[in-house]
């Protein structure tokens, strides 16, 4: 499937799974993670996006620094038993809890429900990269998977949004096996609508 301007939409080349994804269908987290991972895989392998890990890396960095403070406090206290270590313990403890606060702010404000950021090189090589953002959530006790796709064409800071809200039962069978093709075709439809919408401007 290619478009008149020659840009090939590579979604048809759906990456075939070496092993079907099977999850515990009653576990909300497992279901959401499986859906998110399948979407990320579709964009990465099927659509040629390069995943931008900076949000995740930021979170990992904050957590690593916090654990480092805690490990330092442990070792220092072993080498210089309390009460000699009092000042160091105070600094490490306070820093740790401040970092936990920073982490909470980071996940709730900066990350929000964004689970994927991908960059796709412009085939003509002239424009800056297109950016694709995925956000998803499933509310507790509800079976609906809400996926929000944002498309920011080359260098723009404001993007176009499209959402998909479907019951998870449309993608999983009774055994909990994920129907990747169905998800990919829905995602493809959203992506195409966003790209076409852009061209109409």
């Amino acid at each position: 499937m290619s478009r008149p301007d020659g840009r090939k939409l590579a979604f048809d080349e759906c990456p075939s799974d070496s092993k079907p994804v099977k999850v515990e269908k009653w576990d909300l987290n497992a279901v959401k993670n499986a859906l998110d991972d399948a979407c990320k895989k579709a964009l990465n392998e099927g659509y040629g996006c390069v995943e931008d890990h900076s949000l995740m890396d930021g979170r990992l960095a904050i957590c690593t620094v916090a654990v480092a403070f805690s490990a330092f406090a442990l070792v220092w206290d072993l080498l210089h038993p309390f009460p000699a270590s009092r000042f160091v313990l105070f600094i490490c403890s306070a820093s740790y809890f401040v970092l936990m606060g920073v982490l909470t702010l980071y996940t709730s404000i900066r990350e929000k429900s964004c689970c994927y950021v991908g960059r796709r090189k412009d085939p003509t090589g002239l424009d800056p990269d297109d950016v694709w953002l995925l956000s998803s959530n499933i509310r507790k006790f509800e079976p609906t998977y809400h996926l929000s796709v944002e498309y920011r064409p080359g260098g723009q800071s404001e993007g176009r949004h499209a959402t998909l809200s479907k019951s998870v039962s449309e993608y999983f069978d009774e055994t909990g096996t994920l129907d990747g093709d169905k998800l990919w075709s829905d995602l493809q439809r959203l992506a195409v609508s966003l790209q076409d919408g852009k061209k109409k401007q």
Partner: protein, 181 residues
């Protein structure tokens, strides 16, 4: 290899490097949070062991076996007769919770004698050989508050160490395998 093929490990097998590292960080953060709360309490209370469990009935009817005690250790305040102190005898790990019954001197180098409320004799039998009095350096803290029964969990874990390891290992594995959002 059979154990590694368990379906619950499917989730782990599908994770990439970052997600795997995040699982370990999650586990490390849970341990760190507990550690930092403990160290933070040490700093705030001034005691090297801010929370202790009463192991015997020697302080009945005030404290019973299994009670949780909250300690502070304000080194500027002198120890007085009648206070309930927690002390460690030199060379032994287990802290003892008894009441001060006699005091020699009132400066920093004060010596004091302790006795459990429910005991017939004073603690000289518990002190190190040749030691007749306790000093301030033996004291871990002074009892400021308590919670009844909560410490029974710790006593149970110490009486059956295998139970402790099984519970901790199970929790640890669960945290490492289970992927949160």
């Amino acid at each position: 290899m059979g154990l590694l093929e368990l379906s619950c490990l499917d989730e782990v097998r599908r994770m990439d490097k970052r997600q795997l590292y995040y699982q370990f960080l999650n586990f490390a953060m849970i341990v760190s949070s507990a550690l930092m709360i403990w160290k933070g309490l040490m700093v705030v209370t001034g005691s090297e062991s801010p929370i202790v469990v009463v192991l015997s009935g020697s302080m009945e009817p005030a404290f019973h076996r299994g009670d949780l005690l909250f300690l502070t250790h304000d080194r500027s305040e002198p120890i007085t007769v009648g206070e309930i102190v927690v002390f460690k005898v030199e060379g032994r790990d287990i802290p003892i919770v008894h009441r001060v019954i006699k005091l020699h001197g009132n400066e920093k180098g004060a010596h004091f004698l302790t006795k459990g409320d429910n005991n017939l004799v004073d603690d000289r039998g518990l002190y190190a050989p040749g030691q007749m009095w306790l000093t301030e350096k033996d004291v871990v803290g002074r009892a400021r508050g308590f919670l009844p029964y909560v410490g029974m969990v710790t006593i149970l874990m110490n009486d059956y160490p295998k139970l402790k390891y099984i519970v901790l290992a199970t929790l640890g594995i669960f945290v490492l395998i289970h992927r949160e959002n």
